[in-house]
Symmetry: C2
Subunit: 203 residues, 2 copies
């Protein structure tokens, strides 16, 4: 396992600094059910608007249901299939568009589901696992293949597994896998007082 | 400071287990700029689709710009004003609806912004701070007051500060503040193989 620590201006939580979306999964190491349940519990305890918990997830474990896993895998974009083939677990994150309690539109369904998935990613980091979320998949095919109700949006396919050691990364993944992590400058994202005004780093 | 640990079936990361959305803020303790920057850095390093980082935030610090803070505060729903009045920092989370690189619709803008905000919440927990996100605010008023561009959705107002000690919680907040945290059963949220099929906890 190798780290790609976030290059933050001040120290941040180790979990947050070490989470990153690698692609070089170890096809030979499976995820135990105890590990899986910990990942799900992390997602479960995310915050949500009015406590609606609008997120749902479908899980496919290659070692338990190879056919189901393959059906999910076949919904991925080709560029993702290249590396996701080695992930022992695939998951789908789904966001509810209505509140369970009254059926009215929930405009926070996707926002809250993103929080739940981030908890899952960070829990994976805590357990020495790697997670890579994908937007590149055929949402209509997923919906049809797995009977997803209309009021749930298919947000992300999620690959989960162990990371390959640096030495074992396949040649075609090496450059991306070892590239430095980058983000926009802090003051292009965080404003103070009004839109566009850069946050003051020093008071 | 008191904890309300998530009642998970298996142990999960301490940060994730301890994060919760309290309301009893200490009006007398301000947040330093170093603390604020750590919160922002945590959000900054969240994952996003195509690395777009669709999130933006506006910050109001009561101790630096009381007028701006009050203008933001006045956009909150009355039920939130009752307790948010004691939070030294208010923030607004905004989600981009188009990709920066090509202007095309970004259907992950809200999902990714939810992840960034969750990172901020967890970083606050790591630093002994408390965060409470609110859906209850007047989004149109916020947009008009702070010149938010049309392509950004106003997702959440965020209150940040120190938690009051258990003894100092005002009577009207006590019951909610001390109530046990609850979530739906794991198997009502996480499915296996297809929609609605409860995940197998044991292999």
């Amino acid at each position: 396992m190798f780290d790609k620590i976030a290059n933050s201006q001040v120290p941040i939580s180790d979990l947050i600094a070490r989470r990153w979306s690698g692609r070089a999964f170890d096809a030979d190491k499976r995820i135990s059910r105890a590990q899986l349940v910990a990942l799900l519990e992390a997602a479960r305890w995310a915050p949500s608007c009015y406590g609606d918990e609008p997120w749902r997830y479908i899980i496919w474990d290659k070692y338990i249901d190879a056919n189901g896993w393959t059906k999910a895998y076949e919904c991925l974009a080709e560029g993702n299939q290249v590396w996701a083939k080695n992930a022992p677990i695939l998951m789908l994150a789904l966001a509810g568009s209505t509140f369970a309690r009254n059926g009215k539109p929930n405009r926070w369904g996707q926002y809250d589901t993103g929080a739940a998935s981030e908890n899952l990613c960070l829990q994976a980091t805590a357990m020495g696992l790697m997670v890579h979320q994908m937007g590149g998949f055929d949402a209509d095919k997923v919906r049809a293949s797995f009977e997803v109700p209309e009021q749930y949006g298919c947000m992300a396919m999620i690959a989960i597994g162990y990371q390959l050691s640096r030495e074992a990364i396949p040649a075609e993944l090496k450059e991306r896998e070892l590239a430095e992590r980058r983000r926009r400058a802090l003051q292009d994202t965080f404003f103070e007082g009004r839109w566009g005004e850069p946050v003051k780093i020093h008071a």
